[in-house]
C-alpha cells in the first residue's frame, strides 16, 4: 500500500452521492458513506433501507447509477467482485462462503496456493496456514476439514482468508446471527485485533447491543436514503432506534380500541405459552398470553425474532421446550395441521415463498387450508368451493377477473387478501398475521387494518406483527416488544405510544436524551 498517499485525516473509503435504481424501486438515493482505517463502522437500517445494495455496489456485484467511490484518495471503479478483491475489499457473508468439504488450509489459500514445480505444495500451504491461524488466535487445525468446525470458527477462518489477502476493508454481513455469546466475544476480539492493523471493518447487523459493544461509528439508512453518520458514544439507543424506524410522532386517529386490561381478568386465555422455545438460535424461551377479542401487536426491529416466536406457537418451527396451552388445556403441537385443528391460523411473512401457490387459481388458494383440515377424502364439491371463493372475494374486495385466474397474476395486495381469505375460511380462534400489509398499497392497508379490528370484535384473538408501529397502534390493545431474539417487554394502555415503544425496543442506558 502506498503510504505516502494515505491522508491521516480523511477516511480511507469515501462513497459519495451513490444512486442506484431497479425497475420500480429507488434502492439508493444520494447516499454517502465513509469508512476510516481502523474503524469498526456499523451499517444499519430496517427492511428496504438499502444496506445490502450499498454493499453490493461497493463489492462490484451491482453497478451504481450515480455517484463515485474514492479509495485512499483515488477514485476507483469497481465493476466486479474480482475488482473488489483487487482493491483489497473482502466480504464475509452470513452463509460463510467457504467450501465445507476441503481443509482449513485449502480454504485459506484457494486460488492462491503455494506452489513448487508447477504443482501445489501442500506442506508449505499447511505451514503458512498454521502461521496465519496462530497470528489471529484461531484455534483450528490446517489439515482438518472445514465443516468439522462450528460456524463461529468457520467464520473466523473466512475472515482469516480475507486478512490473508491483505484487505484494507473487511465487510462483515450479519456475522453474529448464528453465534452464541461466547462465540460472539471471540469474533469481537478478532475484530479488535484487525482494527489495530488499520483494517476498516463494515459491520452489518441488527443486534443493537453488539453495535454498542464493538463499533466506533454508525451509519443509518432508511428507504434508500442516508439518515446520518454518528459516533457511537454520541448516539443514545433511543435515538438510533428512532432514526432507523424513522417515525416522528404522529397524530393518530385512533379507531375504537378498547385498551382496558381488566376486561380479561378471570378469563382463560386462548393461547398461553410458558417458557416456549424452538431451539437456541431461534428465540429465547418466552411467556405469552393471548385472549379472545383482542389484537396484540409485536414490535421490534427486523431480526428481533417476532416471526420466529409466532412460528413456534403455530408449530411451523417445532417447540423444543416449554409448554403451550389452548383454552386452559395443555397441548403439544407437532405440526401446522395440529395447530389448525386446534383453531390457529398463520399468515406468513413471506408471501411469495411461504404463502401463495403461484400456479394455482384464486379459488384453490382460498380453499386449500380448509381442505387440508377436512382431509383428502372429504373433498369439497366444486359448488361449495366456488361459493366460498365468491363469498370472500366479495367480503375482502379481492380484485380478480374470476376465481379461476392463477394467483400469480394478481397484485400483491390482492394476493395477500386471498391468503387472508384462506385463513378466515377456516374459522380460527387465534390468528397470526405476520406483516400482512407489507408491500401493499395504502388503500388495501387500511382495509386490512379495519378487518383486523373487526375480527377481534367477532371474538378472535389476533397476533399482529408489523414493522410500522403506527398501524399496530391503531389496532392493538397490547404490544409485545422484542429485541435480539428475546421478548423484552409488554406494553399496555397509556404505554402504547411511539416513544415508549421505541424506548423499550432500544433498551439499555442513556435512553433519555
Amino acid at each position: 500500500m502506498n503510504t505516502t498517499k494515505h491522508k491521516q485525516n480523511s477516511p480511507y473509503l469515501m462513497m459519495n452521492d451513490i444512486g442506484k435504481s431497479f425497475p420500480g424501486v429507488r434502492a439508493l438515493d444520494h447516499v454517502d458513506f465513509r469508512l476510516r482505517s481502523g474503524d469498526i463502522h456499523a451499517l444499519m437500517g430496517e427492511n428496504g433501507a438499502g444496506k445490502s445494495t450499498l454493499v453490493k455496489v461497493l463489492t462490484g456485484v451491482f453497478s451504481m447509477d450515480e455517484g463515485s467511490v474514492i479509495l485512499d484518495g483515488d477514485p476507483v471503479s469497481i465493476r466486479s467482485p474480482q475488482d473488489a478483491q483487487k482493491h483489497r475489499i473482502s466480504t464475509v457473508y452470513q452463509e460463510v462462503n467457504l467450501c465445507p468439504n476441503i481443509t482449513v488450509a485449502e480454504n485459506l489459500f484457494l486460488g492462491r496456493e503455494p506452489r513448487s514445480m508447477g504443482l501445489i505444495d501442500w506442506k508449505q500451504m499447511n505451514i503458512k496456514a498454521a502461521e496465519l491461524l496462530h497470528e489471529l488466535n484461531i484455534a483450528a487445525a490446517p489439515t482438518a476439514q472445514l465443516d468439522s468446525y462450528s460456524i463461529a470458527i468457520q467464520q473466523m477462518i473466512a475472515i482469516a482468508r480475507a486478512v490473508n489477502t491483505e484487505c484494507r476493508i473487511l465487510i462483515l454481513d450479519e456475522p453474529t446471527s448464528s453465534l452464541d455469546a461466547d462465540e460472539v466475544e471471540k469474533l469481537f476480539s478478532l475484530m479488535h485485533q484487525l482494527k489495530t492493523t488499520g483494517v476498516g471493518i463494515i459491520f452489518i447487523t441488527h443486534f443493537i447491543e453488539q453495535v454498542y459493544e464493538v463499533c466506533d461509528r454508525i451509519t443509518v439508512l432508511r428507504n434508500g436514503k442516508l439518515v446520518g453518520e454518528y459516533e457511537v458514544e454520541n448516539l443514545p439507543r433511543l435515538q438510533l432506534v428512532t432514526k432507523m424506524m424513522g417515525k416522528e410522532i404522529e397524530n393518530l386517529s385512533e379507531l375504537d380500541v378498547d385498551r382496558d386490561e381488566s376486561r380479561f381478568a378471570g378469563e382463560v386465555p386462548i393461547i398461553e405459552a410458558r417458557g416456549l422455545s424452538s431451539g437456541a438460535s431461534k428465540v429465547a424461551p418466552f411467556d405469552l398470553k393471548m385472549y379472545a377479542s383482542e389484537v396484540v401487536g409485536f414490535a421490534g426491529l427486523l431480526g428481533s425474532g417476532r416471526s420466529e416466536l409466532v412460528r413456534t406457537i403455530y408449530g411451523a418451527d417445532k417447540a423444543t421446550q416449554g409448554q403451550l396451552s389452548i383454552k386452559g388445556k395443555s397441548v403439544k403441537i407437532k405440526n401446522p395441521l395440529d395447530a389448525m385443528k386446534k383453531g390457529m391460523a398463520y399468515l406468513p411473512e413471506d408471501r411469495k415463498d411461504d404463502g401463495i401457490f403461484e400456479d394455482l387459481s384464486v379459488r384453490e388458494n382460498i380453499i386449500i387450508a380448509l381442505q387440508a383440515k377436512h382431509g383428502m377424502f372429504k373433498r369439497m364439491t366444486r359448488k361449495e368451493m366456488e361459493a366460498y371463493a365468491d363469498e370472500y372475494i366479495k367480503l375482502l374486495s379481492i380484485k380478480t377477473p374470476n376465481i379461476e385466474t392463477p394467483i400469480k397474476t394478481l397484485s400483491g395486495g390482492n394476493q395477500q387478501k386471498v391468503i387472508l381469505a384462506r385463513w378466515l375460511l377456516t374459522n380460527p380462534e387465534f390468528m397470526i398475521l405476520d406483516e400482512p400489509t407489507r408491500g401493499i398499497d395504502v388503500g388495501t392497508k387500511t382495509e386490512i387494518q379495519k378487518l383486523i379490528l373487526k375480527l377481534a370484535g367477532e371474538g378472535k384473538s389476533v397476533a399482529f406483527i408489523s414493522s410500522e408501529i403506527d398501524e399496530m397502534l391503531r389496532t392493538c390493545s397490547r404490544m409485545v416488544v422484542m429485541r435480539d431474539r428475546q421478548k423484552v417487554g409488554e406494553l399496555t394502555q397509556n404505554q402504547l405510544n411511539q416513544n415508549t415503544i421505541m424506548r423499550t425496543i432500544a433498551g439499555g442506558e442513556g435512553n433519555d436524551a
Binding site: S63, D354, I356, E358, L360, F377, S397, D441, G443
Partner: protein, 368 residues
C-alpha cells in the same frame, strides 16, 4: 370499502389467439397433429379400419393398442413429476417385477404351461401388489430418507430386472393359457382390443382419484410450494409417498398388460426404456418437468403422440434402437427451449435485434 383512487387491476381477456397459443395442451396437440398429418400423407390407409379375426384393426387402433403400456406408465410418471419435480426411473423394472409375480403364481414352477396354478384374478392382484411394493420402496426413500427421486429410483432401475428374473427362477416363462391373453389382446367376443379398454379405464380411474379426492390438489400444492404446503397443514411426506406408490401400482398394471399381450414374462425385455418415453410424454403433454400443476389429458395426449411418432418411424423402417436417437434429440430440444438460461438469451437477442439505440456496455445489474 373500495378505495376509488386505485385503478382496478387490469387483467384484460387476452386475444383468443394468444390464449390459444399459451394453453398448455396446445403444444402437444400441435405435435400430434403434425404426426397425424405426416402419416396421412405417407400412409394411404391411415384411416382405414377393418375387422380381422373379430377384432377391429387398422393403423389407428394399432397405435392405440401399442400405446397402452406407455399411457398407463405415463399417468404414474405424471404424478411423480408433479409432486416432486423428479422422475421415477424404475417403472420399466417394476413392470417386469409385477409381471414376474403374476407369472410365477400362474405357472407355478413350470416355465411353460397352459394350466393356471392359481386363480387368474389372484395372480393379477399379486402382480399389482408387487408393483405397489416397489412403489413403497421408492416412496420411502424419497419421502422419508429424502433421497432425490432420480437416485432413489436408480436402485430399482439397476437391480429390478435382475430381481424380476429371479422371481421366475431365472427364465423367461411362457403362459400358454389363452385366458391370460384376455388382458393383453382380446376378450373373446369383444371387438375392441382389451388393452385399449384397459387404458381408457385406468385413465378414467386416475382422473377420478385425483379429482374426486383432493389428492390431485395436494400433489399440485406440494409440487408448487413445499413450505407453503406445510404451513397450510398438508403432509408433504405422505403425499409424495402416495404418488410413488400409485406410480408403482400403475407400472405394475402396465407390466401385466404388456406381458399378457405376448403371453410371456421376459424380464429383460418387458418395458425396456419405457421410462424415457414416459418422461418425454409428460413433457410433451405440457407438464412442467419441475413439478407443480399437471394435466392428465396432456400426459395422455403426449403418450399417444410418442407412440404415433414411434409407429411412424417404424413404418419408415427405422429400427427400435435407432429410434432413441430421435427421442434423445427431441428431449434435448424441449429441455433447452424451456431452460431459463436459453430463454434469457433469446430475449436479449430479440431485444438487441429490435432496438436501434441500445447503449451497450451496461453491466447486467441483476447478475449474481
Amino acid at each position: 370499502m373500495r378505495n376509488t383512487e386505485i385503478k382496478p387491476v387490469k387483467i384484460d381477456s387476452e386475444p383468443f389467439f394468444k390464449r390459444l397459443l399459451s394453453h398448455r395442451l396446445t403444444f402437444s396437440l400441435v405435435v400430434l397433429l403434425v404426426v397425424v398429418v405426416q402419416n396421412i400423407i405417407t400412409t394411404p390407409d391411415f384411416f382405414k379400419i377393418s375387422m380381422t379375426n373379430g377384432l377391429i384393426s387398422g393403423y389407428i387402433p394399432n397405435i392405440l393398442d401399442e400405446a397402452s403400456e406407455l399411457v398407463i406408465v405415463t399417468l404414474g410418471m405424471t404424478l411423480v413429476i408433479a409432486v416432486s419435480g423428479g422422475v421415477d426411473l424404475s417403472v420399466g423394472a417394476i413392470m417386469a417385477i409385477a409381471a414376474s409375480f403374476c407369472g410365477l403364481l400362474l405357472n407355478g414352477a413350470e416355465y411353460r404351461t397352459d394350466v393356471f396354478h392359481n386363480p387368474y384374478i389372484l395372480a393379477l392382484f399379486v402382480g399389482l401388489l408387487g408393483g405397489g411394493l416397489c412403489g413403497v420402496f421408492n416412496g420411502f426413500l424419497v419421502s422419508r430418507l429424502k433421497i432425490q427421486p432420480m437416485i432413489a429410483t436408480l436402485i430399482l432401475f439397476t437391480a429390478g430386472r435382475s430381481i424380476a428374473k429371479q422371481i421366475t427362477h431365472g427364465q423367461t416363462i411362457y403362459i400358454m393359457n389363452p385366458v391370460y391373453k384376455w388382458l393383453g389382446v382380446q376378450i373373446p367376443g369383444v371387438p375392441i382390443r382389451t388393452t385399449i379398454l384397459i387404458s381408457i379405464a385406468i385413465i378414467i380411474l386416475v382422473t377420478l382419484v385425483t379429482k374426486l379426492t383432493s389428492l390431485g390438489l395436494y400433489i399440485q400444492s406440494v409440487g408448487i410450494n413445499g413450505s407453503a404446503s406445510r404451513l397450510v397443514g398438508l403432509n408433504s411426506r405422505a403425499i409424495k409417498f402416495m404418488a410413488f406408490v400409485i406410480c408403482g401400482v400403475l407400472a405394475g398394471a402396465a407390466g401385466l398388460v404388456g406381458s399378457s399381450s405376448v403371453g410371456s414374462v421376459n424380464s429383460g425385455e418387458l418395458g425396456l426404456s419405457i421410462e424415457m418415453d414416459a418422461i418425454l410424454a409428460v413433457a410433451l403433454g405440457g407438464n412442467d418437468l419441475f413439478g407443480g400443476k399437471f394435466s392428465i389429458a396432456g400426459a395422455v395426449i403426449g403418450a399417444y403422440t410418442i407412440q404415433a411418432i414411434t409407429t411412424t418411424l417404424y413404418a419408415m423402417n427405422v429400427r427400435a434402437d435407432q429410434l432413441n436417437v430421435f427421442k434423445a434429440v427431441i428431449i434435448i430440444v424441449i429441455i433447452v427451449a424451456s431452460s431459463d438460461v436459453f430463454k434469457e438469451k433469446i430475449k436479449r437477442f430479440t431485444r438487441h435485434l429490435f432496438s436501434k439505440n441500445m447503449s451497450l456496455g451496461g453491466l447486467s445489474d441483476e447478475r449474481q
